[in-house]
């Protein structure tokens, strides 16, 4: 999987309430959730984000609640991939389970500005800042997680194992 898009930059400890505020959790419709994605952090996000754009964030992205609505909202908003210094654990798990591509990179955050054109190769973990002509290598995705991605998420993986 390869992506190319413009960067959206967010700070550290972006919690799930900022990704999708609880007041919108009376639905799980991805399109509805996407309308309010990142609303309390940047009210213009949902209207300005373009398909293929990439979120670049500081440490502990997705901390807080277990709501899978958070990666669902991000994916449905058109974001192709999230790169962060680190991810909160439930968000990390949820993203692999439901199919939002995410990568961890310490260096990328400091060398990417909002609006930069970013290229991501999920298979090699290579991140290219095309605007600044810089390259980074994301932390390797554990083989088990790679298998989940290749299967198309957790439910597909358990189906493959014949567990249903």
């Amino acid at each position: 999987m390869k992506f190319k898009g413009n960067a959206w930059k967010f700070g550290s400890d972006i919690d799930t309430d900022r990704i999708i505020p609880a007041r919108y959790l009376n639905t799980s419709d991805p399109k509805e959730l996407a309308k309010h994605c990142m609303e309390d952090e940047d009210a213009s996000f949902a209207s300005k984000v373009r398909p293929g754009d990439i979120i670049v964030a500081d440490k502990n992205f997705g901390c807080g609640s277990s709501r899978e609505h958070a990666p669902i909202a991000i994916k449905a908003s058109g974001i192709a991939c999230v790169i962060a210094k680190s991810f909160a654990r439930i968000f990390y798990r949820n993203s692999f389970n439901m199919g939002l591509p995410i990568l961890e990179s310490e260096e990328a955050f400091g060398s990417i500005d909002a609006g930069d054109v970013i290229e991501v190769d999920m298979d090699t973990g290579e991140i290219v800042n095309a605007t600044k002509n810089l390259r980074f290598k994301a932390r390797a995705i554990p083989p088990f997680m790679q298998e989940l991605i290749n299967s198309g998420g957790l439910m597909e993986a358990i189906k493959k194992k014949g567990a249903v």
Partner: protein, 422 residues
């Protein structure tokens, strides 16, 4: 055999292994799987999409619609109906609504559904609460819940453990809530990322079950996978009256390996307040006496238990809330509600000017039953003070224990209980 922590022992047992090592990926049997009105609809949809017809065990899949209940609007009602229909169809033993529903993490231990030694997953981040009973329990997402509903198993990465050793004696008005706030203030909101937190020491042994639960409840606010306290005679007294299944006590080996050991002297810990907009922004209550407030919320899976209401009643007895302060008290379960009523706390609360809400998560996550307007400020016994958590994006939440919350309601500003209880 390698020495193991309590967490490693529980995981090994449920994976059918003699031993496990941090970092190892395991597939483990799940004793209890929980979902609520926000997370279960997605899980139920995934369950149906998978082609599965029956949950792996109707006694072990628990549905508790507690977040936006009593149904706050039409969309919430539709979400709850998904749970209700599924519970009826699958003949789930543990489904609660109306006058039987309570805040999930208060309800499950109270009913003896979760017992020591269990491996519990819940599609709710505060599922870590049950570590207070000596269970391994962790929050997951809806798809994980769906996978467990189908198979009864889930993959886990065995976490490293951090040992937190408490010494000394708890000062007056200091509870488990203050210990965990102090600790999060020390290590930060990702200070225990992916790790298991193990709380030990004499002061922990002296804590009540209610206080232990509020402590383990907030392990997630330090980024942890789980929080746990080794079960002891306090645990036994609590679970013997309730457990619906046989339980097993585990404890860490003396030479178990921890990635870190941290010590805290309780003699130096005062009642704490976490300031907006992260639980790590902790200060001593005395430093915040000029912060005026509009609302106080006493409740939630962190501090809506009987001990919490008892300390609030002690402080509010014969006193009134300050003018222009709304005090909202939310007993966490119907049983706690009934206990509080029988003990006369409702008279005290009503005379003080409080409103008593039915059990619900409600305002904790900005759902309903006490939403803040722009510019409003609340002291809450809840667990999160993120931007917009209790309402408008320009509102603020200060997290505290129930004694501080009650004293603040009386003073109309953040106050130390000693200021009221002279």
């Amino acid at each position: 055999m390698r020495p193991m922590t309590i967490t490693e022992k529980i995981l090994a047992r449920h994976a059918g292994l003699k031993e496990v090592t941090p970092g190892e990926l395991i597939n483990a049997k799940v004793d209890i799987a929980l979902g609520n009105d926000i997370t279960a609809p997605i899980a139920i949809n995934e369950f149906r999409k998978s082609g599965a017809k029956k949950v792996f065990n109707r006694n072990k899949v628990i549905l508790v619609p507690d977040h936006f209940t009593p149904n706050k609007d039409i969309k919430s009602a539709a979400q709850c109906k998904v749970l209700r229909d599924f519970a009826i169809e699958q003949k789930l033993t543990h489904y609660y609504e109306g006058g039987t529903v309570g805040v999930e993490h208060a309800l499950l231990p109270e009913k003896g559904i979760v017992v020591p030694g269990d491996l519990v997953i819940g599609a709710d981040s505060h599922t870590c609460t049950y570590g207070a009973l000596g269970a391994f329990s962790t929050g997951v997402g809806s798809t994980d819940l769906a996978a467990v509903m189908v198979t009864g198993e889930l993959w886990f990465k065995v976490p490293e453990s951090i040992k937190f050793v408490f010494t000394g004696k708890l000062r007056k008005w200091v509870s488990g809530k203050d210990l965990i706030l102090h600790l999060i203030g020390d290590i930060g909101v990702d200070g225990a990322l992916y790790k298991a937190m193990e709380f030990t020491g004499r002061p922990i042994e002296a804590l009540s079950m209610d206080s232990r639960m509020s402590m383990c409840n907030m392990a997630i606010e330090a980024g942890a996978k789980s929080g746990i306290i080794a079960p002891d005679k306090v645990t036994k007294a609590y679970v013997d009256k309730r457990a619906e299944r046989p339980y097993k006590f585990y404890s860490s080996d003396e030479d178990a390996v921890y990635c870190e050991v941290r010590e805290y002297d309780c003699n130096a810990i005062e009642p704490k307040v976490a300031c907006p907009h992260l639980p790590e922004n902790t200060k001593n209550v005395g430093e915040l006496k000029n912060i005026t407030i509009d609302q106080v919320v006493i409740g939630s899976c962190t501090n809506g238990r009987i001990e919490d209401l008892a300390v609030a009643a002690k402080i509010l007895k014969g006193r009134k809330t300050a003018k222009y302060v709304r005090l909202i008290i939310i007993p966490a379960t119907p049983h706690i509600y009934n206990e509080a009523m029988k003990k006369g706390y409702f008279d005290i609360f009503l005379k003080a000017g409080a409103v008593i809400s039915p059990p619900t998560c409600g305002p904790c996550l900005g759902g309903h039953m006490g939403i803040l307007a722009a510019g409003e400020r609340a002291v809450a016994t809840t667990n999160r003070n993120f931007v917009g958590r209790m309402g408008d994006v320009k509102s603020e939440v200060f997290l505290a224990n129930p004694a501080v919350a009650a004293a603040s309601a009386i003073k109309g500003r953040i106050a130390h209980p000693d200021e009221v209880m002279k």
